[in-house]
Symmetry: C2
Subunit: 351 residues, 2 copies
């Protein structure tokens, strides 16, 4: 087991290894004083892991209640959140109790937001079971729900007490979700680590599980460094948005159902790097190298809207501040920086 | 104008004086870099103050949009909150913009919660126009909404950038609301200040406005001290709940419509002090002295439920933690402390 310590407004550990869930009661018991837990999961993950975790907590002498909601991004909304609040109230949860999120990004984001806001804050444990959640959304304290006007528009910074990444849970992950998670993994290589990118380029979707523990440790370490430098997303943390500005527009174009987050981010990275290369803002050949890597993970996709159309859709994006937008550009593998431009220059840049 | 500096996780000032709203654009401009404002108010306060504040901000060169909702506690719910989020999204508000709450406790709590959560946090200005909001809810960063299962069960700690208490706004406050606010004012005297209590005892509801500026300065100073000692409500801040445990049960018994918050708190203080005196936990004659003061402000009321009934209703209260409850007892005027007891002992205590 590898332990990565995160030094944010709250100090906590990310545990990475195989078979960790067998010891979940002990691991959780060390990270919180709570002895009453609301385990929150979706109907896919609940029978696989959340029910067992609930049982393990009870066997360890704690109270534990399981709340399950229908899987999918459509559940990450105020309706499900209100049902979680009702569940917490009816089961008499207090500020001394804890929420345990078991699942992918939707579960972690929404359960974390409930933990941030119910009674103005409860303890919170993340048990991510998807690749995307293990390398990205479970670490760093960003929680959110979607509203009809846009994705992740409402949220809170809520650092967890503990994150448990059990690599074994990825064995039950549908191949499609593994591919999806690899989008964010390639991103980490592009923005911060040539070493990681080289490992990815010398593997493919068929054999990447062989080195997955190493991959996750590298990704979480990068995320930890970025979050420690800029917990509240005012500078350095923007680098994590590489590929996300156009990526979000792609997801939005397909109503968040046609193209998954990781694939949309992959396309966003590809488009922005192609433009950067044309404008001589990065090393020659970088776009081709990126696309080569994406192809190994079945992340080279086509989208219907033009780059300009996607740019227009960005303007209501929350990363836009006071009429300007920060675009993340990689000048080479592992070397990224934000480029601030006015909305007009951004649209011109995309032409 | 008196300036009280609050040293919480964010440092900010509470400005107290007469005629301050005339300079609101300049005062706000010094406290935030934002130049785009969402002014949030209810339909009672909007025509009196919020419309003028919106105009003043525009006249000062900022963008300002006004959102008005129906007055009353029933509006402090997830439906109104979602409408505020929609308003912010449709008007392209970003993380660099600010929310200005103009009104009483309901407005401040809900607008503050929106400011805490929209895009994970915007700047936030409080302009409280009720006595209750000026002395209590606008200072200290507690924001919340009600859910069907209970009042203030969902919320966040969100310190404002600035609080402007213009005493002149209290001149338009219906007498009923002045009485209501005096409940919390008497509370401050009881928990922390014999001097304040003596001023209150030598005045009455007919002439208290003559010394209101001094009263508000004293109350805000007490609240500031308590909040600085315990921003996140884990110890000292509990003292502010004097009278609130039974008070909340009274409000709940009447469905939050029959008896106002200040009156319910007054009754809660009276009941708990009578019991404390019977159990010899306070100076003899304290209950009578408290009741004498409450009578001067028309805060001596009768309620239908018995003290034991009210106690039973407390148990789902959020101040209950792990099977125990902290009851605030005043041993004398200005001397308060929390007494932690099990749920069973609490019910026995009330007999």
């Amino acid at each position: 087991m590898t332990t990565i310590k995160v030094n944010a407004s709250r100090k906590y550990e990310v545990l990475i290894g195989r078979g960790l869930l067998a010891d979940c009661n002990e691991l959780i018991g060390k990270a919180t004083k709570a002895r009453k837990f609301a385990v929150i999961s979706d109907d896919n993950v609940s029978p696989l892991y959340a029910e067992k975790i609930t049982e393990a907590l009870r066997a360890g002498g704690s109270e534990a209640e399981l709340f399950t909601f229908p899987h999918g991004e459509a559940s990450k909304c105020s309706d499900t959140l209100n049902r979680i609040y009702g569940f917490l109230a009816k089961n008499h949860f207090t500020r001394s109790d804890a929420i345990v999120a078991v699942g992918g990004g939707v579960t972690g984001d929404m359960a974390g937001y409930a933990a941030a806001t119910y009674l103005r804050g409860m303890d919170f444990i993340q048990i991510p079971t998807s690749l995307l959640a293990q390398v990205d959304s479970s670490v760093g304290g960003k929680t959110a729900i979607d509203i009809p006007e846009g994705k992740n528009l409402v949220g809170a910074f809520k650092q967890p007490n503990l994150v448990i990444c059990d690599i074994d849970t990825l064995e039950t992950l549908p191949r499609d979700f593994l591919i999806d998670g690899m989008g964010e993994v390639v991103k980490y290589g592009m923005i911060k680590s040539k070493e990681l990118f080289d490992i990815l380029s010398s593997h493919n979707i068929g054999n990447i599980m062989e080195v997955m523990e190493d991959i996750i440790i590298r990704c979480v370490s990068i995320k930890r460094d970025v979050v420690e430098a800029d917990e509240f997303d005012k500078g350095e943390r923007m680098l994590l948005n590489f590929g996300h500005t156009l990526g979000h527009s792609i997801e939005q174009f397909y109503n968040y159902t046609g193209i998954s987050h990781g694939r949309a981010v992959a396309k966003g990275m590809e488009l922005i790097t192609e433009i950067a290369e044309k404008k001589q803002m990065c090393r020659e050949g970088l776009a081709e190298e990126l696309v080569g890597c994406l192809e190994k993970y079945e992340l080279k996709i086509s989208v219907e809207p033009s780059t300009e159309q996607l740019g227009g859709a960005c303007l209501n994006d929350k990363k836009r501040a006071g009429g300007s937008i920060s675009v993340i550009i990689c000048s080479d593998v592992g070397a990224s920086s934000p480029v601030k431009m006015t909305v007009e220059d951004f649209l011109g840049f995309l032409k």
